[in-house]
Point group: C2
């Protein structure tokens, strides 16, 4: 198969960088293409690195060389930037020692490359808004996303049921089975919910006090319908590019609360230790097979193909993870 030739605007050679006394030079192993990476490049993200910039915000690499004053790392260690940090789409990354977090090499590299952005979002959203106890439930749309899959599994580990909404499209039966295999309690496509009382479809589950929205439009309205009185919907994405529309009575009589979650904002609070502890927890789950999601490895040379797939140009695709 003839591969598209990478445009010089996409793949460029950068001059060598000096490794200063507190720096660690990391040879990247793998880094994903996340939607937020694309938003940063599009210029629609409120926080952007100064340009020209290297893309990518998370990934895993192997320590290649360390500065003279670095003693926490040795060549061969696996590290991730934590909190995540711009510029992971390059073969070698040089950053200060404090940027890097050493991880257990027993964790599969595709999980190490992708643990910070999506799984951490799922974990924080289950913690930060509503006190959930075993036996409770949550509802979410966009359930096939990596965050959605993580929500299902992390909730299940805590005895929390999930009600999952997916879009109507080719392969939705297969997607339903995949989510059920991960531990989803209920999976509905949007068309199944064209009934007056969506809650009548919940036979054995309590009404959820917490919902997650990464789609907007009608899919957000469906999450709101499922929520119980006093419930909270947290928006963390807008895949449909449609706004969220809410009736006045939802606020007044149903006492719903609508909030938002942005990982970058949470990370900016300087919770480095807490962030790294959560990452170790999540990587431990991935290592033990308790946290799973699908990824597809793409050699760096084929970046444009991975980018097209990440942009959805080739239909639904697993998370694209660039390998170096």
């Amino acid at each position: 198969m003839a591969l598209p030739i990478p445009s010089p605007d996409i793949l460029v050679n950068l001059p060598p960088v000096e490794v200063k006394e507190n720096d660690v030079c990391v040879k990247m192993i793998a880094a994903p293409i996340n939607p937020s990476d694309i938003n940063r490049i599009e210029g629609v993200y409120p926080v952007r690195p100064p340009v020209p910039a290297v893309g990518g915000y998370e990934g895993v690499g192997e320590v290649y060389a360390v500065g003279s004053k670095v003693n926490g790392f040795s060549p061969g260690d696996w590290v991730i930037p934590s909190p995540p940090s711009s510029g992971t789409w390059q073969t070698y990354v040089v950053k200060e020692e404090s940027v890097w977090h050493k991880i257990d090499k027993a964790c599969p590299m595709e999980y190490a490359a992708t643990i910070t952005v999506n799984p951490l979002t799922a974990l924080r959203m289950l913690e930060d808004f509503v006190v959930l106890n075993s036996g409770d439930s949550v509802v979410q749309n966009g359930a096939t996303s990596i965050v959605g899959q993580c929500v299902i599994q992390l909730a299940r580990l805590r005895g929390i049921s999930t009600i999952n909404l997916i879009r109507d499209r080719a392969g939705s039966d297969e997607a339903r089975e995949q989510l059920k295999a991960l531990g989803a309690d209920e999976v509905f496509s949007e068309s199944q919910l064209n009934v007056k009382n969506v809650k009548s479809l919940l036979v054995n589950l309590p009404e959820p006090a917490l919902g997650f929205n990464c789609v907007g439009g009608n899919a957000a309205s469906l999450v709101l319908k499922y929520l119980r009185e006093g419930g909270t919907m947290v928006t963390y994405g807008g895949m449909s590019k449609k706004p969220i529309t809410v009736s006045t009575t939802s606020f007044i009589f149903k006492d719903l609360a609508l909030r938002g979650f942005w990982l970058q904002s949470w990370l900016s609070m300087g919770k480095v230790k807490e962030c790294r502890e959560m990452i170790d927890y999540l990587l431990g789950l991935a290592r033990d097979g308790k946290l799973k999601y699908e990824t597809e490895l793409v050699p760096f040379d084929e970046f444009p193909v991975g980018l097209d797939k990440a942009l959805g140009k080739l239909g639904r695709q697993p998370k694209q993870v660039i390998t170096f």
Copy 2:
């Protein structure tokens, strides 16, 4: 002027009621027609008294007779039902002693009749969502409503500035001056806000962390535009009958929170003592001329005229207060 003859469906004679040993019989003096009274009659309110029912939810009356075991009230006392209670649109109301709260007769009766629903809503909304300090600001739409006018005055008493949005219509210049006379810092009509950056209109005020919405539609979007990062909009009405539409980025990047307030829900928490203390505070302000709003007294016989005015059929009108 020929008055419309009250329909027997609206004004009816009820048979005498026995005053039991713990009851207080109150001869009503005045009771307002609030939008929520109309919603209850329309059947669109989630909590409704059993039918047939007498309308009205607040008002002031004079004790006419007391049951044999009542010792907290004497004939001639002024009382209001507190928490408010259905059925104030009648000449005599018989309810248990515990329903009634004795008030200071020095308070003008039109304020005593109307203090519980709208001013209490304004007071609670300033308390329950965001910690406000002197020097802060709040933004609201529907600022000419009684709640809106109370927000302006109660905020000002605490050193909090108000940014007030009003609709474009005949008399909006007059309304602006009225609100400024009450202490409004800024008053904008919606058409004045057809600018890219509404905040550029705020020269000397801090960005508000709290906003109130009783309109919906575009007027709600304008409140959201004024809020600062991390701000909260509280919806307590939907006068335009349009829903609230919010962008995904407002939640994720601006970290806005949307909530609702319903006085009846707050009252149902059994905070009788707290409710009565707040009412005494508000009535004291009204007595001292520190809390003002316009009312129009309507004799009970002319109820249908008052109802038409309350329904907005005759243009903008003061709060209609029925006198008995």
